[in-house]
Symmetry: C2
DNA sequence: ACTATATGATACTATACCCGTGTCATATAC
DNA sequence: GTATATGACACGGGTATAGTATCATATAGT
């Protein structure tokens, strides 16, 4: 399950992708626009800077901007930047050493197969694609599975 | 992420599927065979009985057995029996009301799409398939079920 | 009937994680 | 110099996880 922290990170990245080219944007602006607690967002942005997804400028007129083009940043990049374990189906899928059974467990192969698909899908969704889709969304679709 | 509890539930179901037709099997036997803490397993089995995946018999010669044929029980059945939220990508995917943004969030559609795929895959993996897969690979391994 | 064996139903605990908040330091534009 | 911005940590309440402990109840075999 994606945590609130990772969800906020995605929102923030989306906002900055939407305003790519507008120069540096402050954390306060992002927090206000995307309904994210300011202090919490500060720590999240700090991590995104640390993982080279964002670049920051301090002082007046400072703020955050994307380190790469929106086309070159995927959802997987953001999720992994925040927490490499957050979206894994089972802990042994990430580190098979965690479970002595992983060498012969029949479930393991299946979970790994699904995990690879999920990661590939998340890796194929760029911020640019998401920003583009924001305008032309189909509201007739159900928003729950 | 699948919890330890759900992982144990799957193991237990696999063991019982492998021994389907052998009559009732005690929790102690399953715990020993599948490396699961006995007390913890007791509570898990209790839940699997409550969700009609297992049937139990009390007293001497009692124990657990599958309520349905191994072909008719999927990994999704077991996972959902233990915790309906455990394998969801994001909370808003399960309950869109949890997030005010779900009505217009571009990420939401993508996550729902992936979630539907994952659920379908888990729903397509039966205990029978897993047992068959495992016995084909591990006939002479020490911890085979 | 008695007993050993099995599940049923709770209550309890200890640790870790999640979701924030608070404080202070530091860099920069004007 | 000051207002504005990020950087680096420390702290805390609430909840979930992973077990444990206890007692009640049902049944097979003697
Ligand atoms: S060891 Fe990974 S799922 Fe069984
Ligand atoms: S509201 Fe569900 S992912 Fe954004």
């Amino acid at each position: 399950m994606i945590t609130r922290e990772t969800d906020y990170a995605i929102r923030a990245m989306l906002y900055l992708a939407h305003h790519a080219g507008d120069g540096a944007i402050s954390a306060a602006t992002v927090a206000e626009a995307m309904d994210i607690p300011y202090r919490f967002l500060r720590r999240i942005l700090s991590r995104l800077v640390g993982t080279n997804l964002l670049v920051s400028t301090r002082g007046k007129q400072g703020g955050l901007r994307l380190a790469r083009d929106p086309e070159e940043v995927s959802l997987l990049d953001v999720v992994e930047a925040m927490d490499p374990e957050v979206i894994t189906l089972n802990s042994c899928v990430l580190k098979s050493a965690l479970c002595a059974r992983s060498a012969y467990c029949a479930v393991h192969d299946e979970l790994c197969r699904i995990q690879i698909y999920v990661n590939a899908e998340l890796g194929a969704i760029s911020l640019a694609k998401l920003v583009e889709h924001e305008s032309g969304r189909n509201d007739d679709l159900p928003h729950t599975i």
